[in-house]
Symmetry: D2
């Protein structure tokens, strides 16, 4: 199991993760797309990545906006797994 | 443009819409699925239905749970369009 | 109903449609993606566009390759609807 | 790496896999859905399952029909991996 990271470590590592910020025990990013169709294509990819990693985000969609929050509930906070999935998700922004 | 409906009318019509309830200016339903994969399949269908209707929900996903909220922002409340899409969405529950 | 177009007209219009070619009564394009995940995101978008247009392609996927063929069966050949959907699909290539 | 199975072994094991048949070096099943939207939901699930298994099908979609062919190219034929994914796919038929 990945271990919960200290907030300062998370903040430092988020420096390399465009758009993500720490909000309590989660890291969060809002993604804006051209339209709803593009948002659907992004969410489809995120679904595949999440299941492959066996690590699932909280996902919210309103039209062309998708918000993703990541946390490691079993570790009680943010772990390397969250940062890894955030990095993979970022690579799917068109 | 569809017209905003009175709350009492919405409540009466929700009697035929399994699982939906009125929360302020929205109608909301939480869907529980077998697992994340099934939730992905449901969300993919909802995306297609929403774009076809040109009416888009607020959608939230946490693992095998999907929550959908519908409102007609241009009408300032709940309209027939919300009820129509809710009905279509309900037909996609496995 | 859209009318079947002459092959020469199709060929001329395909000049503006990157990657598509005429094969008998269809227009066809093969799309190559970075990986399977990206192909999934593309197919999800194509599904939404197709249903919105009420015009559905023949779609084939092998790993990171997606092949789309369009034809208007009711018109017995290629129509403006095929060209319109091909154009929309092209706009979804990352 | 999974080993290529003898045709007779495949045929015997397909007895437990509703709808699949052996065609040369592949196993194949055609799925019929209620409409295109349902087919989209199924394909979305298959995409997730395939990436999770790191084993990818040949997939073909025409409106409400989806055809899936599975083979293990690295083994030069049909292996247990194909049968395993076919079983998972079957569990996603609504």
């Amino acid at each position: 199991m990945a271990e919960k990271m200290a907030g300062a470590d998370v903040d430092r590592l988020l420096g390399d993760l465009d758009g993500w910020s720490r909000e309590g025990d989660q890291i969060v990013r809002e993604f804006k797309f051209r339209d709803f169709v593009e948002a659907v294509g992004f969410m489809a990819q995120v679904g595949v990545l999440a299941e492959r990693a066996n690590h699932h985000p909280e996902l919210r969609n309103v039209y062309s906006t998708v918000t993703i929050a990541l946390s490691s509930h079993d570790a009680g906070g943010i772990t390397q797994r969250d940062l890894d999935l955030a990095k993979e998700v970022n690579e799917r922004v068109p």
